[in-house]
Symmetry: C2
Subunit: 349 residues, 2 copies
DNA sequence: TTGAAAGCGCTAACAC
DNA sequence: GTGTTAGCGCTTTCAA
């Protein structure tokens, strides 16, 4: 039943036409369900297609029709479990709709990012889903403004007419901080990514609001909004934990958690006795380490799915040119890493 | 300096030719560094390209030249940190060589895998890097045999004329098991993926050899070679740890580690007092959990890099039709999860 | 409805 | 060396 007359030479629409005794145009019409085709002819064509094992050549289709059925996906780092989850979320949505994915890693490098985007465009992708390295950057804005390919931004926001899918980092951070504040902590540290992305800025805002809403001073000396890497988390935690008036609690982004834990061990501190910990973004590590870490969880797969659906809508001409901005909410997972402050840390003055 | 005469309508090779006062062919030759072009003409063409901001259309190039400069990458699951690392390893190698990546997830589903592969082929990818779901499957073998696109297999092996890049799971598992045996353990459990992949089979072999090389009986009742998921790890560990003659040590694949730890906690066991643990494949979790887990580490990024280079070689006509089979070796990271057996487990008879 | 023909943007074979 | 020409495989007018 399969590959009945499988010939090794590529069979083209021409062969089908000849085989069915119709013209090229008719075959094309059958293929694209466009225009009305007589039932009898349609049957003949479909038979010929089956008999010859014909498969349309997407490259030729793309050249002629100016659309490729390819979506470009650009992420800072697929190794990050969160972005990996997002890709896993968006992939089946796009695939089911008949799209294939170009995937590239920018490694948060603007140059690379710019190159990839141009590459995508030249290759005539129908749409792009991107998480830019810096959504505050003028060059990025300029490139995206003139991009002229349907585009959905993930976890970034930019003053441009594009769709955005965001996780609610403001709410999450606010809630985590208020929780700690409610436990009696005042010296709370924040360790997060730089403020050059929506997530970075929103976490900062959420953290600060939690204090100011209560009429409290924000402990600015304990805010570390810098590197993205594991060592940064360690160093930031370390410096928050030593000195005159150390932090009794820390809110750290998921990517920094491992570093924070390292610092905690280095200082021989115990969680939650000496230090309470909440992580922004739930990970396997947070769930399984002892004690398990209380976490704000975001559903990244849903974010990816949402971005894909938005793009598909856009491609179908759905929302016209109305810009959508969707926010995915969080879940608060209380585990065992938080307690009221009080226990003196070993080395406290 | 940028985009001097940036016209919004796409500028084609024709425009360049007219602008430079040469023929299409000459422009093409300049573009492809093919054939000799007079220095003066070349300069004129290059100037025209710059002036017009011309960029070749890869779709047209692809249609005509029958090569796309796209590589298809198919993995069972990009969310798995190991495959994510592999992708991160192979990506820059391919990108630097001017290739763009199609990436797809098979979710270890044969049907999906087959579709993706055909999709890749129809889209005229120049090559494929794939980690098939089951390298023991006849349909898979048949598809790959007739595939007629340069292909490199990752972490799978198949009786076919294709390049393979493998991690040495035999050696790794052997070493882990011997280590435990050396500590005095005899009731050692193995928890791993099904034997439908190279990794699964090699681990089994390595485990068994470690026993038989010492003239010992293989504790077959403690071998769990089944599911791929976290719950499987938990259940397998649980059943190894209860009963008359429970395991005193377990060798578990990285993906199962979380499940094993869950079971250990459920049973209120302590590592390494009641149970020694080695993981096949190092993860963040293994490194940071308390106690840190002794691990066989494989460099997956290197594996990816290697696969990419192999494919590139192949595309360049490098190795001709000689099948390469490269094995990436392991590293043994001794941490704190192993001790001599002896401590009676709480519920032991 | 259907067929014929033009051409998407490019490469490669062939003349000159 | 360089220009001319014929397609790659398809979609899409335009007539019929």
């Amino acid at each position: 039943m399969k590959k009945p007359t499988a010939r090794s030479a590529t069979v083209t629409i021409k062969h089908v036409a000849r085989h069915a005794g119709v013209s090229l145009g008719t075959v094309s019409r059958v293929l694209n369900r466009a225009g009305n085709v007589d039932a009898a002819l349609r049957r003949r064509v479909e038979e010929a297609i089956l008999n010859l094992g014909y498969e349309p050549n997407p490259v030729a289709q793309s050249l002629r029709s100016r659309q490729s059925r390819v979506i470009g996906v650009l992420m800072p780092d697929i190794q990050n479990p969160l972005t990996a989850a997002a890709v896993t979320g968006l992939e089946p949505v796009l695939t089911r709709a008949g799209y294939t994915l170009f995937l590239a890693n920018s490694h948060s490098d603007r140059e690379r990012e710019s190159d990839v985007l141009e590459q995508f465009k030249r290759r005539r992708v129908d749409g792009v889903i991107v998480m830019v390295a810096n959504d505050n950057d003028e060059a990025t804005r300029a490139q995206l403004r003139d991009f002229s390919v349907p585009l959905v931004m993930m976890e970034r926001v930019i003053d441009l007419d594009v769709d955005c899918v965001l996780t609610n980092q403001y709410d999450g951070t606010y809630r985590a901080t208020r929780y700690l504040l409610g436990l009696g902590h005042r010296r709370i540290g924040l360790i997060t990514v730089p403020a050059i992305t929506h997530s970075g800025r929103e976490r900062l805002r959420g953290f600060e609001s939690a204090f100011t809403d209560l009429g409290l001073d924000v402990p600015r000396d304990l805010i570390h909004s810098g590197g993205r890497q594991h060592p940064y988390g360690r160093d930031a935690a370390y410096s928050s934990l030593i000195g005159r008036d150390p932090a009794t609690a820390i809110v750290a982004s998921g990517g920094h958690l491992a570093g924070v834990i390292e610092a905690v061990r280095l200082l021989n501190l115990s969680v939650p006795r000496h230090l309470s910990l909440v992580t922004l973004g739930d990970t396997e590590l947070a769930a399984l380490i002892e004690p398990p870490i209380t976490a704000i969880r975001y559903d990244w797969a849903a974010t990816g799915r949402c971005a894909a659906e938005l793009l598909l809508d856009h491609l179908a001409g759905g929302h016209g040119s109305t810009r959508q901005r969707i926010t995915v909410t969080h879940e608060f997972i209380i585990r065992g890493s938080c307690a009221a402050p009080g226990a003196k840390t070993p080395r406290a003055g």
